[in-house]
């Protein structure tokens, strides 16, 4: 054994994903644990700052009509400082959106993790569409430097009754590619977050599977179109198996993430 003081509780690690039983070098983290942490943080930062590869995502969505728009945030730094810009279309972008009345449309927003969108968005859409037969589906719109509310302007322009917006969630150290889905009935700018339904933690590391996400999206879509609403009014009837969203459980302070 080296100078590193041995931690006798390493076996308790099975009880929690927390970083317990790390041992220590003096009062510091042992080198290997320190590097593990740096790696996790670097991966999370890369997920925030990497640009979405739009061309690759369009290829994954082959067979769908795909339109790419950008928000009013000119770059990542502005996007992070100015949430309001990420919620609006950039100048002239609305002209790319043809009126095309439909029951629902998918919007893909890079949000805070392009990795999440790159990895999961096309698969979730494919799985959901398989359960949405009989509905009129609009084009898929990819929005970059975008937050959730940008879907309202997009949905209004297309005249979709409902938008299903897939967005990269704020990366954590353990999972950097978690996808969220927001359903908004009657999209128009100014709609409140309480008028949306949200699924989160869609990812492959113990999160919600594509199939379960698709099932929930399909259930919520049909319920929303029937009841002509989304949000708190619909949530009360949602599937009790709905998985609680750890990343939203911020009772310490109300952190806006959208």
């Amino acid at each position: 054994m080296s100078d590193i003081a041995k931690d006798p509780w390493a076996k308790l690690r099975a009880a929690t994903p927390a970083r317990i039983g790390l041992g220590r070098s003096g009062a510091g983290l042992p080198t290997s644990d320190n590097l593990d942490f740096q790696f996790a943080h670097a991966r999370a930062r890369d997920a925030v700052h990497s640009a979405l590869d739009v061309a690759a995502l369009e290829q994954q969505l082959a067979g769908h009509e795909v339109i790419h728009v950008t928000s009013a945030a000119p770059d990542r730094a502005s996007y992070l400082r100015r949430p309001d810009l990420g919620r609006r279309l950039g100048a002239g972008e609305a002209a790319k959106l043809p009126t095309q009345p439909c029951d629902l449309m998918f919007v893909i927003a890079d949000g805070l993790s392009s990795a999440a969108v790159q990895t999961h968005a096309a698969a979730v859409i494919a799985a959901a569409l398989a359960k949405l037969a009989g509905l009129a589906i609009g084009p898929v719109v990819i929005a970059t430097q975008a937050r959730v509310a940008i879907g309202d302007e997009i949905g209004q322009a297309i005249r979709a009754r409902l938008t299903v917006l897939l967005v990269g969630e704020r990366p954590g150290l353990t999972v950097a590619d978690s996808l969220g889905a927001y359903l908004t009935y009657g999209p128009e700018p100014g709609i409140k977050d309480s008028a949306r339904n949200c699924l989160s933690n869609i990812h492959a590391k113990g999160g919600m599977s594509y199939d379960l996400a698709a099932e929930k999206i399909a259930w919520l879509t049909r319920a929303a179109l029937r009841m002509e609403l989304t949000g708190t009014g619909l949530k009360e009837e949602a599937d009790p198996a709905e998985i609680p969203d750890a990343s939203d459980a911020t009772q310490a302070l109300n952190t806006p993430q959208t």
């Binding site: 927390a18 983290l29 954590g172 750890a246 911020t250 009772q251």
Partner: protein
Amino acid sequence: MAQYRCNLGGELFRFDSLGEVMAKATPGRSGDALAGLIAGSDVERVAAQMVLADLPLKDFLSQALVPYETDEVTRLIMDSHDTAAFAPVSHMTVGQFRDWLLSDKATAPVLKSLAPGLTPEMVAAVSKLMRNRDLIAVARKIDVVTGFRSTLGLPGRIGSRLQPNHPADDLKGIVASTLDGLSYAVGDAVIGINPATDNIPTAMSLLSMLDELIARYEIPTQSCVLTHVTNSIEIMNRGAPLDLVFQSVAGTQAANDGFGVTLSMLKEAHEAALSLNRGTVGNNVMYFETGQGSALSAEAHHGIDQQTLEVRAYAVCRAFDPLIVNTVVGFIGPEYLYDGKEIIRAGLEDVFCGKLLGLPMGCDVCYTNHAEADQNDMDVLMTLLADARAHFLIAVPGADDIMLNYQSLSFHDLAYLRNSFGLKAAPEFETWLEGMGLINDHGHLIDSGQGAQRLLEAAS
């Protein structure tokens, strides 16, 4: 409308209101830019600071930044102001007040008796004229001592909250993290859990588990489940073992509405917790959390800068004699505090302002993954806050909160502050740590691991 003017370098700067002077005098940060309140240039900021330096402190008693008629926080501030305590500085301008605070005349006892005479706006104003080192130098002088089962805030000591959160509130997982933290001599301020599922049954089971753990090991500390104040009231009604009442608070009535909290709710909870008489060395039964940007985030900022509003939240806290107050400084995200520089500045401001108002002010030294910050910034801030004699700091296993998805300090970091600067835990807790064989008589962790082994054996 009052006009404030400053001729600087041949340019005339005008400010239409006291609120505008305060906002533009504030060191730059993203939240004030987002709110459209920030100075237009560095020179304009200095002009605002010059105007502010010449303003009499008394002006803050006659001009409310948030209307008295519509805001219960303003009413609390104005109605509870202690004129006699204010007298020693009542003739000063904000700039003179800064000079006086830095002078040897402002001793610990003098600052303690002054606190009830200061309003949050006066304290925020003077902080805007102070450099980081000034904030540290004055905060360091201020003694604030509170107690429940441990005594916090004594000279030469720094407290810690052990935060053993788990994404599914799994009791075994929480115990594992708690024991890990105790083995690092962390947890004298509180063992506090943010529940993933925020409801009454979950909170009650977590409280019972912690109560049993504290009793079994006879740990001189207190527990808390950070649930809404109305839940805590109900939990006390149902007889669960609740030590501290938690609540997030903000600096305007409208922002507190957003948290679903009023002063009367806090009063009810405070009285209920006092009546339980669960403390042994003191009866400070409240735990508050604050953070710059919460009012803007709730669209309840009244055109006032986020730092001034943050200090107004401290007026809410001090009305209820808290054991600990915590600014969750980097939690809210880069749209409020963009990078390490802004987070560090805000952490120092918050601890200075809180202590000057007489609060047991601690800090969650933390950041999110979309902020321009990393653990190096946290290293700097925790070291500076230890120097400023923060009441307590928060620590989680390996600096990674797996439930709230952000980074705070690691248990290791408290050990660093003890080893490198000789800072000790609360005296009652220190005695317990020694008895468990976890620390030596210098307060350093013992390498043998036998104390840790003892904790583990007692748990199984």
